[in-house]
Symmetry: C2
Subunit: 132 residues, 2 copies
DNA sequence: CCAGTACCTTACTTCAAAGACAGTACTTTC
DNA sequence: GAAAGTACTGTCTTTGAAGTAAGGTACTGG
């Protein structure tokens, strides 16, 4: 049976009529900065995870979304999938070298955001208080 | 008259019933890695831009989305809006110090993605060729 | 006085990402 | 022999982000 590839964030198609096709690198950027992509990459920096383990570690992620995210990252060569042919199934996910490079940068950004959250919150409060 | 604040990416609300409210830092991360947020931050690293100028520099962005993005980033304290009370209106947008910190990291990530695009493409080709 | 520029705001619409949930196949544990 | 774990796949539905389009204001140049 044909196993269809995941949706792969068909998010930004070329606008109809417009010749402006999104440069492919934007798509990869979308993948690594996606809602669950960020969390997966950061989590996998620590060590390889099994599917269910990763799901529990991230929490509040549906199986569907986690799989979709993992498949997208696998296709992009960022995540390695190691499926052992045993029963019950055992699948280990880990970062590739490429994935680690990406994960480091994503983590930097996430860490920065976390670190500067207070400044952001102050800016927001100031913005919201300003007469508009 | 009450001017409502922009949508501000109400994307990830706390799941109803779930105590798991998305940490606020995730929202900021969403803002800076958003479709137009990335482009705005990177563009503004070069120099301040006027609204129309920025729109033309980025291209293919609707006024609505550009304003929404700028307002979100302004509220987060990443972008400074300098509206001169002249006619016709002149508004200059620039990065704050906080914004520059964010922009540098975003640009790093974007540059990495661009640089490693070839490796990603190879991985994809391999993935797509693999018997599934 | 009409057209154009600059900087927005608002309303309407579309469509894909995400959630919910059921199903598969096989095994171990209660 | 029923339930639960494991790693998925598939479908249906919701929703909210982004696009389109139009309006508004206060001017200036022709």
């Amino acid at each position: 049976m044909a196993v269809s590839t995941p949706p792969l964030a068909p998010k930004y198609r070329a606008a109809s009529g417009m010749s402006e096709q999104l440069c492919p690198y934007r798509l990869v950027l979308e993948h690594v900065t996606s809602r669950w992509g960020v969390l997966v990459l950061i989590e996998l920096m620590e060590r390889p995870y099994r599917f269910g383990e990763l799901r529990r570690a991230i929490g509040r992620v549906s199986e569907k979304m986690l799989i979709q995210t993992l498949q997208t990252l696998e296709r992009d060569g960022l995540v390695h999938r190691d499926a052992k042919p045993v029963i019950p199934p055992r699948v280990d996910y880990s970062l590739t070298d490429l994935g680690r490079e990406a994960a480091e940068r994503v983590r930097d950004l996430a860490e920065w955001t976390h670190r500067r959250m207070e400044a952001v919150q102050e800016a927001r409060d100031a913005y919201d208080q300003r007469p508009r």
